[in-house]
């Protein structure tokens, strides 16, 4: 397959995607620079995971182009899509390890499926990958014996088993302890630099994300609210970006989901007896 030499490994061009009436991404254009660590941020349900699924071809854009190394994933047939996926690795939010396989066999899975390597070579590669994530000693453990952070590191070793060009991480820092958050952040950066990868991760963890990312994209209301270096995003004057990076409860993103007026739901809230329920106007 001819490789594109443009600066962006992934590029979304005017992509629209939704489920039924609900629009998730509305005419979104963005790019993921080659060889860099890109963070995808934004409120929950804002379409971050959807973008990863679009890149992997698990969802297809309704309009626009979803380019991976210059080729449109949206129009690929299954053999081409599978060929493209072999150049990607994806780390799912909870690891998604195969429950009936040991740590070793989980990491060996893509090697055994896609290569004709001898078991000796598979053994060496798996141990190298597990060593890279610090879990060489856990090779014989079963997934149900691993902590959440360990399971994700095993999944990371599996995602990089075939030396992909792009690694996507779906919320690698959620639900794990602070030590594991720090370890995972360091790993993402180290692996990106040592293996010459392009990395992309979804995160809500501002501090760690801004510390390791080269490029940050913030999504809001189905559109790109800001993108640039962490410093550029941090100093953005856009009210929505300001609210997000400073974790403010007041701002363009409202606490209440759109609803009919309080009066319509509760009647006359001036009645003192209504106040005990904490109903606010």
């Amino acid at each position: 397959m001819a490789h594109n030499t443009s600066e962006s490994l992934v590029e979304l061009r005017r992509v629209t995607f939704g489920y039924g009436e609900r629009v998730i991404l509305d005419d979104v254009s963005l790019s993921v620079p080659r060889g860099k660590v890109t963070a995808l941020m934004g409120a929950s349900g804002g379409g971050k995971t959807t973008i990863m699924r679009l890149i992997g071809g698990q969802n297809r854009a309704q309009t626009g182009q979803m380019l991976f190394d210059g080729q449109d994933v949206t129009t690929m047939d299954q053999p081409h899509l599978y060929a493209a996926r072999r150049r990607m690795g994806m780390l799912f939010q909870f690891g998604a390890l195969f429950a009936d396989l040991s740590v070793f066999d989980n990491v060996a899975f893509p090697l055994r499926e896609h290569t004709d390597l001898s078991e000796d070579m598979v053994y060496d590669i798996v141990l190298m990958k597990l060593n890279a994530v610090g879990l060489r000693g856990a090779r014989d453990m079963m997934p149900n014996a691993l902590s959440g952070g360990m399971a994700r590191r095993v999944a990371l070793a599996r995602a990089i088993a075939l030396d992909p060009e792009l690694v996507m991480y779906d919320e690698p820092f959620s639900g794990i302890d602070p030590i594991s958050v720090g370890t995972s952040a360091k790993l993402i950066r180290q692996l990106n630099d040592s293996m010459g990868l392009t990395s992309m991760f979804v995160s809500h963890e501002i501090e760690q994300t801004f510390a390791i990312a080269d490029h940050v994209i913030i999504l809001a209301n189905g559109k790109v609210a800001a993108q640039g270096t962490p410093q550029e995003v941090l100093h953005s004057t856009d009210p929505l970006v300001y609210q997000y990076v400073n974790a403010l409860s007041e701002g363009p993103v409202r606490f209440h989901y759109p609803a009919v007026t309080v009066e319509d739901d509760f009647g006359d809230v001036a009645d003192p007896s209504s106040q005990q329920f904490g109903v606010s106007r």
């Binding site: 698990q58 909870f94 195969f98 893509p110 999944a155």
Partner: protein
């Protein structure tokens, strides 16, 4: 009484037709996966062990008890006509032609079918199917096909075990406990059971039931909603749909296979 709008009925019909079309395509894909699946025999062997070995106890015990009951009921009926020596033939034909394949398929749906549906449904809920797709590994080929063919292979073997233990059960009650002549019991079987017409058609039935039950189980698991409730209802659907399909198909097959 609820009146449905024509548009609702049309939508429901179209959705159902689409589901049937999808199921038919999946069934065809599994059928044509025969050669590539058996090329990686280790995967099928593991499923044969899982589905067959773990169903063996329930199948053998059920077969034995069904044989006991048939020995007893058959004797009470035959003795009225003075033909109790035909007990072996009665028990064997009933088991080999009908009860062996049918009861085995029903038990298999309950024992192995549910575990297949739950396993695949939980793999889906745990994003293991998605991660496999992202690794460019086809889950139909890697997960569904070995389970499907494993089930198809073990069903006739389990039906044979069921029928064999059933005949032994009939022998224990009829010959050992009641005192029917052992020579008559076995010679009637030897003379009255036709290998192709009776045993062959019984095997054919169990192959058809194997295809049916295992396909329904893997399809329900693969199409399950990726939630605990979704997996639970898919598991229930496997038992209900597979059992009804087996009973319905048995009538059709019997009508086609056995004539006077």
């Amino acid at each position: 009484m609820t009146w449905y709008k024509p548009a609702d009925v049309g939508f429901a019909t179209r959705s159902k037709m689409a589901d049937i079309g999808y199921a038919a395509r999946l069934f065809f894909r599994l059928l044509v996966s025969f050669v590539p699946t058996f090329r990686r025999f280790g995967l099928v062997r593991d499923q044969m062990h899982f589905l067959g070995n773990y169903s063996l106890a329930i199948i053998a015990v059920s077969g034995l008890f069904v044989g006991f009951v048939f020995g007893l009921q058959g004797y009470y009926t035959l003795i009225r006509y003075g033909s109790s020596e035909a007990l072996g033939l009665l028990v064997t034909l009933t088991l080999v032609r009908e009860l062996g394949p049918v009861v085995t398929a029903l038990l298999f749906a309950g024992r192995a079918g549910t575990s297949l549906t739950a396993e695949i449904g939980l793999m889906k809920a745990g994003e293991q199917i998605s991660v496999m797709e992202m690794m460019a590994v086809d889950p139909i080929q890697r997960v569904l096909a070995p389970r499907f063919w494993g089930g198809v292979v073990v069903m006739p073997l389990l039906a044979a075990v069921f029928s064999a233990t059933g005949v032994i059960g009939g022998w224990v009650v009829g010959v050992l406990m009641i005192g029917v002549d052992a020579g008559s019991f076995w010679s009637q079987i030897q003379g009255g059971v036709d290998v192709w017409q009776d045993v062959g058609n019984g095997i054919l039935k169990s192959i058809v039931f194997g295809l049916t039950v295992t396909f329904i189980a893997v399809y329900q698991g693969f199409e399950a909603q990726a939630t605990p409730e979704g997996v639970a209802s898919a598991t229930t659907r496997t038992v209900v749909v597979a059992s009804l399909a087996v009973l319905g198909l048995d009538f059709i097959l019997t009508a086609m296979m056995f004539t006077i």
